[in-house]
């Protein structure tokens, strides 16, 4: 069980501001834990032939994509933010949308 970091709001804001590094040591430590938390499926981005990305759950056996977020993303950064929110919610049981204040 991962406990919510005391500076959650700051870390959420830091990630939302810049999904790709460099990150503060505290955010990187949190990302490492979120990204290694066991999941039955893998979050992946599907590149649509017409452009844009969709966030899916990749089931491995058999291989199948299951929608994680129905809306498409125009940028990779936005998709990373959405994946971060999913992982945050799975880990801490609440949405990070308010900056982790709850």
């Amino acid at each position: 069980m991962i406990s919510k970091p005391s500076n959650a709001r700051g870390l959420v804001e830091e990630f939302q501001r810049q999904p790709y590094g460099p990150h503060s040591p505290a955010l990187q430590a949190l990302l490492n834990r979120l990204r290694t938390r066991p999941r039955r499926t893998k979050l992946v981005l599907y590149r649509e032939p017409s452009g844009g990305f969709r966030l899916y759950e990749l089931e491995r056996d058999p291989v199948r994509l299951r929608t994680a977020v129905p809306e498409p993303f125009l940028t990779l950064e936005d998709a990373e933010r959405a994946a971060f929110s999913i992982r945050w919610r799975e880990t801490f049981g609440e949405a990070p949308g308010d900056g982790g204040r709850r």
């Binding site: 790709y20 590094g21 990187q28 066991p38 992946v44 981005l45 990749l58 994509l65 990779l76 990373e80």
Partner: protein, 765 residues
């Protein structure tokens, strides 16, 4: 209705005028497909870059062709044809084995079983993993007798099965070998059972590690593939009882195991022989050699490996096993659908046959190299095809649970990537593990390769190298009046002759894998005054071997350390193809730095970084490099994660062979926490490895002269080529590389600096 599925490959991958390239195509869901010739000029980059550029060329290609589906018979096995033995008079199979995946599938060990006819005999494992003998007469009578005692995974065991038609009896023996450690020792099991089925076979094809599942035209289709090692399979043309089997196994009376004069010994196959080929000898008097299909792993330890020898050439008797896998694939073996003879007027370059059916397209790339007898252009691009084959059909990128952690970003995939994941028969890459957990040692292009294409799901990872290399093609097309293209396969085969006549060789973005022949040729080129622009990162890292007979297959042993998706098993670090020790070039006294001036130091894939010029960039020797370059910081933008220095990084190191007179003219700054030192840099684990805290995590741009009058310029970053086209090629990175290319193509000799002040080389400006 789903879109048609097109899959194809060609052979050879590189050809010159007058030579023929064959194309093997499978098309599902359409009655026909179209084939057209294109010259590939740039990969798909999106609006931030030049975008996909391909030029349709007139050709003799047939245009529209009828569609047909071709299948791939995945899984390795051995086959011995025309074994003259009358199985109806009784027989004994025996072998040593080391099962590695007992997953509920029946698996063949050795036999003549033909599934569709229910005929023949096969020593096998049943669905519980117990030794069994299956017998069928092809007329409706068949039986499978089992010991009912499952084997253990990764335990050597001697197995044998005999059938005596006079006594109407089957005997099975499974006898564990070696030391079980502190595990409870497995028991020897002997099973004798009545069996009244005859096997009317007199001249048979014997299969090892598979059975015959049917035929597609002339092609044999196989099933029951075994996962694990098999050693010393033998066939005796008469039945033995339990005591006789034991004597046969140990070589004691009444039947010396390897007595070549014994007429009953119908085959005693030695997997330690002909190690570098697809053949294996028969030590019986029949001398009926066998052939291996789909590249099972050779040069692996046998049941008697003592741990005292690591080179199979020094103790071949301890390397008598072959590791078969149900997901091995060497050559899809498809029939050719059409061929294309390279016309005299087709320029050297990166080309493709573009296949289309409905909304589906599939590019089959190939290289037109300069004719060996033709004059060479000043500049040659060396496409890193050995690296392409190492990564071919990589699944690890999609399936790894740690990729987000390693790369700091989500995995991106598209429809072709999904097709790869859905079709197991397309095989694995040397970045994958087999189903039994062992590493994939061979990489092959003799099958459809789905990540070798100009439009890829993600050029920001180092898996789809071909697409990223088209960025170099685009740059060279703008900077030169023409250039030749050649491949690693050309370099390996032709040696220095492949490079002679060129003044400048430019590498592609990630030439990670190199054979000894390739490195010798590059070094000889430089020693002869050639100039080398290393326009990539993590180059010349792994030593590889090419298949001695079949072009298009490479071998990789992941020894000792390095950034590895798996590690070689103990005692299995020497290549079977050549007998050479595998692993990192760095561990063989020939680090990449010796040739390139830089070597692999760190990797990460989330964000690329810029370069900062060093004090050494002011050295008069480096003046030509920075003419017109105004800022001290450059490479801030790029198509590959937003900067010039990224993905995989190299730095200079005199300790590893960077020449003492080399100038490090720029170093990257500002890497993220995702970038970490490569493991070979660490003797003791510590927390000082990421790019935000460790100054070793950087890319160095290095220039040095080579005696007598050549030079090397190395950028040490995979992402670098992605920064050239920013702002329509109007940027400092492109200006710098234009300067370097023009100077390197100038016949004016580089003066070798015999007296060098080395004190300023690393200090930053």
């Amino acid at each position: 209705m789903s879109a048609p599925v097109l899959l194809a490959y060609c052979d050879p991958f590189s050809a010159e005028a007058g030579e023929q390239v064959r194309f093997m195509v499978s098309c599902e869901g359409a009655g026909s497909y179209d084939a057209g010739l294109v010259r590939l000029l740039c990969c798909e980059t999106g609006p931030a870059g030049p975008g996909l550029r391909e030029m349709a060329l007139p050709s003799s290609l047939p245009g529209r062709l009828p569609a047909r589906r071709q299948h791939i018979d995945i899984g390795s096995y051995g086959i011995v044809e025309d074994v003259a033995v009358d199985l109806a008079k009784g027989f004994t199979f025996d072998a040593l084995m080391f099962p590695t995946l007992l997953d509920g599938r029946p698996q063949a060990i050795i036999g003549t079983w033909r599934e569709t006819e229910a005929k023949g005999a096969c020593l096998m494992l049943d669905s519980r993993g117990a030794l069994a003998l299956r017998i069928g007469d092809g007329a409706g009578a068949s039986a499978m007798i089992s010991t009912d005692t499952p084997l253990r995974e990764r335990q050597w065991i001697a197995v044998a099965g005999s059938f005596d038609p006079v006594r109407e009896e089957v005997v099975l023996i499974q006898r564990p070998l070696g030391d079980a450690g502190f595990d409870a020792p497995p028991a020897t099991v002997v099973r004798t059972a009545a069996c009244r089925i005859g096997v009317p076979e007199t001249s048979v094809s014997l299969l090892i590690a598979a059975w015959t599942a049917g035929h597609e035209g002339e092609r044999l289709l196989t099933g029951g593939h075994f996962d694990g090692k098999i050693e010393r399979p033998r066939l005796l043309a008469r039945p033995l009882d339990a005591a006789g089997i034991e004597a046969f196994r140990t070589g004691s009376a009444p039947l010396p195991a390897e007595d070549g004069s014994n007429p009953d010994l119908a085959g005693a196959w030695d997997f330690s022989g002909d190690m570098s080929s697809d053949r294996f000898p028969d030590r019986s008097s029949r001398q009926n050699r066998g052939r291996l299909i789909n590249c099972p792993t050779r040069a692996v330890t046998g049941h008697n490996w003592t741990g005292e020898f690591f080179d199979w050439r020094q103790a071949p008797e301890q390397y008598g096993a072959i590791h078969f896998h149900s997901d091995d694939l060497g050559d899809a073996g498809w029939e050719s659908d059409f061929a294309f003879t390279i016309p005299d007027d087709l320029e050297s370059g990166v080309h493709a046959v573009r296949l289309s059916a409905g909304t589906t397209t599939f590019h089959v790339p190939f290289v037109v190299r300069a004719a060996r007898a033709a004059p060479r252009r000043d500049v040659a691009l060396l496409l890193s095809t050995a690296t392409y084959w190492a990564y071919a059909n990589c699944r690890e990128r999609f399936l790894s649970e740690s990729s987000d952690l390693n790369q700091g970003r989500l995995t991106i995939l598209d429809d072709l990537d999904l097709l790869l994941l859905e079709r197991r028969e397309l095989g694995l890459s040397t970045y994958d593990r087999h189903a039994d957990g062992s590493g994939v040692v061979y990489g092959t292009r003799l099958r459809p390769v789905l990540n070798n294409r100009p439009v890829t799901s993600d050029i920001t990872v180092a898996y789809d190298n071909f697409a990223a290399d088209l960025l170099v093609v685009d740059w060279l097309a703008r900077e030169t009046s023409g250039f030749d293209v050649l491949t690693d396969e050309d370099l390996h085969r032709d040696g220095l002759g492949a490079l002679s006549g060129h003044r400048v060789v430019v590498t592609s973005t990630h030439p990670e894998y190199a054979s000894k022949e390739m490195r010798d040729a590059l070094d000889a080129f430089l020693a002869g005054g050639g100039r080398l622009i290393y326009l990539g990162g993590n180059g010349l890292y792994w030593k590889i071997a090419f298949h001695p007979d079949t072009t298009g297959i490479i071998e990789v042993r992941r020894a000792e350390d390095g950034v590895r998706a798996w590690e070689s098993e103990p005692g299995e670090a020497f290549h079977g193809f050549t007998g050479e020790y595998g692993g990192l070039w760095r561990r063989q006294g020939r680090a990449p730095n010796c040739t390139l001036g830089v070597g692999f130091i760190a990797q990460g894939f989330d964000a690329s970084a810029p370069y900062q010029r060093t004090e050494a960039s002011l050295d008069p020797r480096a003046r030509f490099i920075f003419e017109g370059v105004e800022g001290s910081l450059f490479g801030m933008g790029g198509l590959l994660a937003g900067g010039a220095a990224g993905l995989e990084l190299d730095c200079a190191s005199e300790a590893l062979g960077t020449p003492r007179h080399a100038l490090t003219v720029a170093s990257s700054v500002g890497h993220s926490n995702i970038y970490h030192l490569v493991p070979e840099e660490l003797n003791t684990t510590n927390g000082f490895t990421d790019g935000t805290i460790n100054p070793q995590v950087r890319s160095d741009i290095v220039f040095f002269e080579t005696p007598p009058d050549g030079a090397v310029f190395s950028v040490g970053s995979i992402a670098f080529a992605g920064s050239l086209s920013i702002n329509g090629y109007d940027n400092d990175t492109a200006r710098m590389m234009g300067n370097v290319l023009r100077r390197f193509a100038d016949p004016e000799p580089f003066a070798f600096p015999h007296e060098v002040d080395t004190s300023v080389r690393r200090r930053r400006k």
